[in-house]
Symmetry: D2
Subunit: 336 residues, 4 copies
């Protein structure tokens, strides 16, 4: 059992809000992008990936977002629908915005980089008026990704969604997902991350992300337990702090902490690890698993996705995930 209570009578398990974009993954890997010739197109963006991962695991999933009025936008909506995701909350931009792009470069399994196109993107044009109170209250969970806070009016749309979620007891899960491009500076970022985190039941982020949020408030030293307590004084029940290779640690309001391990695998690229982790971790929590078991599910999902070419299309089904957990070796990570 975990500390979270979900509103079990709601028709949707999870609604994700935020970025919908396109990944263009180089087909030729282990070389710089200057030397690649062809790319394969996938749906991308952290909340899109988490939504796809959730749907693959059998969760009833919806999305609130905005797509460009072009072939890329239609591809995205079509792909989500093929994955049984409810797209009623997705609106189409009419101002000439484009679809965000992420060209991925895989120089080696550990040297991956992304070339982003984020100017004038449709996903950041989501307007508060396009966020429907009735829709949000049909879900057990609202999944918020920090990137959607990067610019107006998407920023205000997310704050309004948070307001509705709190009002209607929708469990809010905040995946910090901080990406410096599109943000003006760290002070701006930290202000909005802090304001949003106050409204959330579960907060998931890297140590560096929490440090960025605390630096603004003149909190100098990194202390996981202290970080978690700060959020327990607002609404949080569960705070997950990721330490890269050394694994993650989850704190609950009752003072307990839980560590996750990893399923070693042949890494093709590191992209998608966080999103696949999040979708399976949330799935575990919603199935009523212990926090540590949910974390193990997250790790299993991540180990599957990082051995494959895409982020979204690689997400495992419930059956694949459970199989992998039974057959693969699980190693508890060392931590500080």
């Amino acid at each position: 059992m975990n500390p979270l209570k979900f509103e079990t009578t709601r028709p949707l398990d999870i609604i994700a809000i935020g970025r919908l974009c396109i990944d263009l993954n180089a087909n030729e890997i282990n070389r710089p992008m200057e030397e690649t010739n062809t790319f394969t197109k996938y749906v991308g963006g952290s909340p899109a990936n988490i939504a796809i991962g959730s749907a693959r695991l059998g969760q009833k999933t919806g999305f609130i977002g905005k797509v460009a009025d072009d072939q890329m936008g239609r591809f995205i909506t079509g792909y989500l629908e093929k994955n049984s995701i409810d797209t009623k909350g997705i609106t189409v931009d009419r101002t000439g915005a484009v679809t965000g792009l992420a060209f991925t470069e895989i120089k080696s399994p550990s040297e991956c980089s992304i070339l982003m196109y984020r100017d004038n993107v449709a996903d950041l044009k989501l307007h508060p008026k396009e966020v429907d109170e009735e829709y949000i209250k049909q879900s057990k969970v609202l999944l918020v990704s920090g990137t959607a806070l990067a610019k107006s009016p998407s920023r205000e749309a997310v704050f309004l969604a948070l307001e509705y979620a709190v009002k209607h007891k929708v469990t809010v899960i905040f995946d910090l997902d901080y990406r410096p491009y599109t943000w003006v500076d760290e002070a701006e970022t930290a202000v909005y991350y802090n304001l949003a985190a106050e409204k959330c039941d579960v907060i998931i982020g890297t140590r560096e992300e929490f440090d960025m949020m605390e630096k603004l408030l003149n909190i100098e030293e990194s202390d996981d337990r202290h970080t978690a307590s700060r959020w327990f004084s607002y609404r949080a029940e569960l705070v997950v702090i990721k330490h890269g290779g050394s694994g993650s640690i989850a704190y609950t309001k009752d003072g307990m902490s839980h560590r996750s391990g990893i399923f070693p695998t042949n890494v093709l690229k590191t992209f998608g690890a966080g999103d696949s982790y999040a979708s399976a971790f949330i799935y575990g929590l919603m199935k009523g698993k212990e926090v540590s078991e949910a974390m193990k599910m997250g790790s299993a999902s991540a180990s599957i996705v990082i051995s494959r070419h895409s982020c979204s299309d690689a997400m495992p089904t419930e059956e694949e995930l459970l199989n992998h957990m039974e057959t693969a070796y699980y190693e508890l990570a060392q931590h500080g």
Copy 2:
């Protein structure tokens, strides 16, 4: 006695944060601006006026803001200093921003309008890095004016100041002061007004301002008591709702309400009524007066200012205010 407790050992009584600008008041009145020829220059901007009003009443007053690097900016800082306001928290813009202007037109005592210059203004360039935690914690009160939330980075600077104020038990007074220019739309405005109001101990605004904040949340009917309760569920202790000619009503967390009256006077113009009211009302609260007595002080100050040509320069001293309260006729306003 009123419900507010102030940190009595702090060296400053009140720090205002936000807009510092110039009023250019037509010398020829009772005619349209097309027919006026000369203007007199005054310091203006709601929080500037409240700070000047406070200083005149003998309060130890500071300011956090930003001025243009030009003659107008230097005039503002110089005027504040002449009024014994601490300007340590005021920085000078170096990006070529200008000083906001407000040309006032007085067609008749009841038909006043303002022509604003708010493009590229210095006051909205205040950056979070220019807000000093140590400075804020030296004050009993932080006075926030809603206009400073209109644009980045001033918006983030205000949220950071709120964070510091809450952390250090500085009483936060929020004068909504909503002015549509510079805001993109009502949804954006309402999102940030609501987020800021959650952090405040005292909220002062017109019925229309509270309506704008509630409309976003699909709250359809205007109900003063319901509005006040909503904020009592966050941090507020006192909520003042103004109803124009029908006077104001103040609610306290204990369920009590208090009405203010007016001191009839020869009205020259209506500008400055709200700011003079606020400065004397806060003065009363900080002197430990009952809410209704503090409201009476606010009304007295307003009646003095609206009979004079400027907003800032017209603010009464403590002696003038007390004299006026003794000698002038006070009429309790009717309220629906």
Copy 3:
């Protein structure tokens, strides 16, 4: 006689195109603006001043420009009409642009400075579609001021007006009037000044303005005769180069040069000298005077305006100008 031929049958003598703004002149002079309290409002902007000067001298004058939809905009249009200027070519902005402002500071007769408000100004929103071919072809002269080239769409509106003027044999007079604010950099400025000058019959500017135009083309040394010749190879018939205190020199295509002198006077401020010079110089040229006589008229007008408080409102009538020329002392300037 001078080298210019005008289309004598046209109903209008001169149409000016470009900036219409407001001057706010400090009433208290000989002190920094930090210490001034009141301002008097006048119509301003170089082409507006030249148009007003022309109309005062009895020229049939029109204007092509754009004003803000506010009291300042209506004041400008009203003032031009009172001065018998045809305002048919003036459109009203509907996008919320403001009227440009120039606050003048007169520290001493020789130390004058201007504080400009040029963000989002209506005059630079003039669009090519608002320039009417039929209107331009009703005039003998088109007066272009360089400031109107500073930003789109006003820049394109001016180029289109030039195209129409050339097509219909309207004599084009270009007053360079280079003011760095609103321009991005000198290279951008020089590109458009050079393109515009190619279409002009008369070019009037300071040595520094011509230097800025030539620097882009890697022309290193300042040589008045060489500067003039360059423009004679395009369409110019007359080039006037101003050397500040050392007077002006005018070149004509036939290889002749002409120097102007000054009428010594009690200088109140230097603003408006160039605009008053231009209006009377053009008036002289259009009356068929010799170039040197027209220059003398320009100097007489300038000496009247710089002894008065405003630029526009101070422009002399034909009678005043001729009186001044008869009664005042004229001193031929020395020039290196």
Copy 4:
């Protein structure tokens, strides 16, 4: 023989200025882009294609432009160098601009469309200071593409390059290449196209492009001969007007006109037809061919490129071109 004289002693045959971007051509053709999965990356942009075409034909070719500081930018510069194009005139943006993208969709040979990414692109950041007079004067020809006029500072860089070219007798060839995205409106476009065309020796465009330029000037009817004459009154010696399927017609200043035909082929897509035509047509002119023979060369090159997958990489060598002209069937087009 044709009417153009080239400065034969210059080390470079042709310098192109303007857009350098990336084409991402769908590998799966004859379907909408919503259904394509993979893309192949090529260098693109009209002047880039013409430069590559010229180099393949053995012309000594240079380029003036700007690329992003990323993998796409380095790919472009590297590809040009591999094709023996001098990249000395190409600078690298340091402001975070991106590389322009063109995703191509081939629904059928006659239904091709492009999805453009043109926000914040490096090619339009080319600044006048990056245009070197010495470099331009080393070339016989300067090839200007209209797209480079779409935005500042690239617009001013092109006007400066034109100034240098005229000064040093470099033959200027203007390929109108009008693409509405990135332009604000048709009036703005027409103003700058007209100003640029005044400086050019050869102008190549579609009937629709010339119509757009003339509409601004209230020229209502399309008349090829009249269009050509207008430009002969400036500097043009040769004007080519394209009529799509009905072929092209070239006018020379002596009053002659010349029609081109087509080499029928299996069309894969229509992209690249204009650029391949231009590179071979210019090659023919520079080899001293008759206008009609040069047009035939253009048609031959176009017929090769439209039967292949890319625009740039498909450009024929001199040998391929001459072979094709000998072996393929040439059909003189019908024209109106």
